[in-house]
Amino acid sequence: MSKTVVQRRAMLLGSAAVALAPMSAFAATDVGKPAPAFSATDSNGKTWSLADLKGKVVVLETSNQDCPYVRKHYSSANMQTQQREAAAKGVVWLTVASSAPGEQGFVTAAEANEITRTRNAAPAAFLLDPQSKIARAYGATVTPHMYIIDASGMLVYKGGIDSIPSSNPADIPKANQYVRVALDEVLAGKPVTEASTRPYGCSLKYGNNAA
C-alpha cells in the first residue's frame, strides 16, 4: 500500500513542478514548425511582414556590427558573398538589428544604411527591431544567429552560420557553411540535413527588453 502512495506523491510532485515551473521569457521555435510571424520596418521605412513573403525562401540574420563574430564574417566577406548568392537565387535575406536602445548593436535607420554601405553588404533589407520582438519570437541568443524559412512558411534551419565557433576569419574556409548548404537543400526541395546547429557569437543584447 505504501508503494502506491509514494508513486502518487511522486507523480503529483512532477506534474505540479511542470505546471508551475517558471517558464523562459523567450520562445524557442522548433524547426519543422511554422515560423513565428513578424512585421518590422526596415532602414528605408518600408514595412516587411513574413506573411507577405509566402512563396519565397527567407533568411534571417541577427546582427550587431560591433560583435567580433559578426565582424569575422563581414571582414572576410563571407556574409556579403552569401547574401549576394542568396539574392541571385531569389532568396529574401533579412539582416535584423535586435539590440535594445543603448546596447551595443542598436542602430537608427541612418546608421543601418551607413553600415550596409561601409561593409558592402547586400541584404534584401536591414530590419530595425529595437524592442527585440523578432529575436524573442525566434529565441535568438547570439549574433549572428541564423534562420531559414521555406516557401511554405516553415522554419527549416536555425543555428550558427558555420561549424567552427571562433572569432578567427582564417577558420571560415575550413568550416562547414551550414547556411549555404541548407539553402541549397531547401532550394532543391530536399530536407535540410543539419537543421539545428549550435549558434555561436556574442550574446544578443536584449537589455531591458527581456524583462
Binding site: 510532485l13 512532477g14 517558464m23 551595443q104 578567427n168 536584449y206 524583462a211
Partner: protein, 684 residues
Amino acid sequence: MKTDNVRAELVSEVSEVKPGEPFWVALRQTIKPHWHTYWKNPGDSGLPTEISWMLPPGATADPIVWPAPTLIDVSGIINYGFEDDILLLVRITPPADLAGTLALRADANWLVCDDVCIPEEGKFALDLPVGVSAKPADPATRALFDKARRAVPTDSPWPARFGLAKSGDPTLVVEARGLKPETIRDVYFFPAEWGAVASMAKQTASVTAEGIRIPLKKGDAKAAPPQSLAGTLVLTEKTGDGEQRQAFDIVAKLDPALVPSAAPLTASNAGESLTLVKALLFALLGGLILNLMPCVFPVLAMKAAAFAQLAGHERSAMRRDGIAYTAGVLVAFGLMAAAVIAIRASIGEVNWGFQFQSPIFSLLVAYLFFVVGLNLAGVFEIGGGFVGVGQALTARNGATGAFFTGVLAVLVATPCTAPFMAAALGFALSQPAPQTVAVLLAMGLGLALPYLALSMTPALQRLMPRPGAWMARLRQFLAFPMWASAVWMIWVLTQQTGPDGVIYALGGMILIAFAIWLLRLGSAGTLGAWLRRGVAAAAVLLAFAAVLKLQDGPATAASASGGPSTGVSFEGWERFSRARMTEAAAAGQPVFVDFTAAWCITCLVNERVALETPAARRAFEQTATVKLKGDWTNRDPEITAVLKELGRAGVPLYLYWPPGAERPKILPQVLTEAAIISELQHKR
C-alpha cells in the same frame, strides 16, 4: 601577459621537472570585475577558452580540467562561465629522456564578456629546469593549485538517471538519498555539451529524502534522444559553519521506465512567462484539488456532516457558516504565508512542508485524526473539554465552529500534501512577499470554494438531503476515512523515524483510548472519579511523552534498528567516543577526529578528495594517527555536546590533536589532501 580585461599567466606546480613524471600547470586568468570567460559548454552564447600547446617531442598535454562553472545571466541569456580569478588545470607529461630544460609554449585564446564580448589571445612560455626529482613550486603557488583542485567537480557519489517526457523534455534524477532538503539550495545542472538541454530555461530542482530531481527543457540538437546525459551538478549546502558550494560530475543513463508527466496546462502556455495572474489561477486550481487529498477529505466529511445538520436552517445561517469556514481557511493560509515570509527573511530560504519533516508533527496529527475518528464513531461526545482545543472548537456549532474547521482543514492539508505543495509553491516562494501572500491566499480560496459555493447557492442547497437518522450513520461512517488518514500519518512517521515510530504512535493511541474510556466511567464528583481523571491524565501525558522520545530518537529509518547507519563508512576508522579521544591524546598519540553525517554532502566530498585518498591514507598510517569518526546522522548526543563546546552548530567538524597536544586544533571545513598531509607531517 595582460590584455584589457584579463591578466593571464601560465603557472606550474613544480619548479623542477622529473623526466617522465606527469605534473600540473595551469592557465591562470584574473578577470576584470563583472566580466567573465567561458566554461567548456558556454551556454547560450560565448566560447570556451582554448589552449594549443607547442611541446618538445615526446611531451604531451592533457585537455583542460575545468573548474565548476557559475551561471551568468545576461538579461535572460544564460552563460556558463567564470568570474574573478580561475585556474584552468592541464596535466603535462614530459618525455622520459628529457634533459636540460622543458620548454612549454602555448597559444591561448578566450572570449571575455560583460555586456559586450571581446576575443583575446596570448602567447605563453614557461621554461622548467629538469632535475632528478620533481621539486614543488613555492607555497603560494601550491596553495593556488590546491584551491583550484577544490573548485574542480568530483565524480558524483550517487548514481543518476534521466527520463524523457512525451515532449522530449528530460528530467534528471540523482539518487542522493537521505539528504536534508532544508540545508541544500541553488541546485543547478550544467549540461556538458550544447544541444541536449536548453540552457535558457530556468531549472526548478526539488530536493527530497529520495534524491534530487531536476526537470529540464530539451535543447536544440536535432539528433535522436540521447542515451546518456553528462554534466555538472552544482549545489550549495548549509553546513554547521557556513555554506559550501559543491560540484559533481554526473553521467546519467536514460531510464526508459522514467517518463515524467507533463501537465496539459503547460502546452497552451509554453513559451510565455508565468505571470502573477496565471500563478493565481494555478494556485486556485491547486486549492480545489486539495479538497480531494486523503488528509483533507475527512475534514470536509466533518464539514459535510455539520452541513447536513444545518440543512433545515435558514439561508442566512448557512451563508454565515460558509463565510466563517472560508475565513478560517484564509486566515490559516495567511498565517502560513506570514510564517514563510518571516522564516525566509531570517534564514534565506524555506521548504514547504517544513513541519512535515518533523516526526512530532506527524505523530500529533495522527493522534488528532484518531481522536476525531473516535468522536465521529460515537465513542465519546464532546463536552468534557479533554480532547483538545482544536477539536472542541471545530465541534462548536455556528460561525466559530465553522471558522476553526477551516483552520483545521488547512492544518491537516499541509502535512500530507507537502510534497505536492513544495513544487507547486516554488513560484510563490521565489516571489516578493505580496505575491507570496496573494498566491497562498488564492490557494486557500480554492480549498474553501466548494463549500462556500454550496452555502451561497440556494439551488445547490435544495439538493442537500433532509435531516434524519441517516445523519448519525453518516457521521459514524466518516470515522473510517479519519482513521485511514491516521494510518497514513503513521506511515509517514515511520519514514521519518523507522519502525520504532509505529510502537510509539500505536501505544500512544491505546493510552489515549484508555484515558477516554476511564473518563466515561461512573459519575462525577466522587473520589473514584478524581482518581480516574488522574490516571487518564497520566495516560495522555505518557502518550505525548512519545514526542520526546521521537525528538531524541533516530531521524532516519536506517538507524532505527540500532545498527550503524548505512551512509557513513567506518572502514579504517574507529568509532568516536570522548573517552577514546582523550585517552589517546593523553597518551601522546596524534588523533584525528572526523565528525560527519550521512546527509552532509560537504563531509562526503572532503572524504573523497582529502581524507580517503591513497596519499592521505598513507600519511595517516605513517604517522600512526588514531582516526576517530563520529556519526552525527542521528544527532548523537555525545557528539552534539562536543560540537557545542567548540561553538559549532553542526558538521563537518575536523579536529586534530598533534602528538602530545593539550588541546585539539580545529581544521577548516573544506579540506584538501595537501593540507591534511602537511598537517599530519608537521612536527615530524
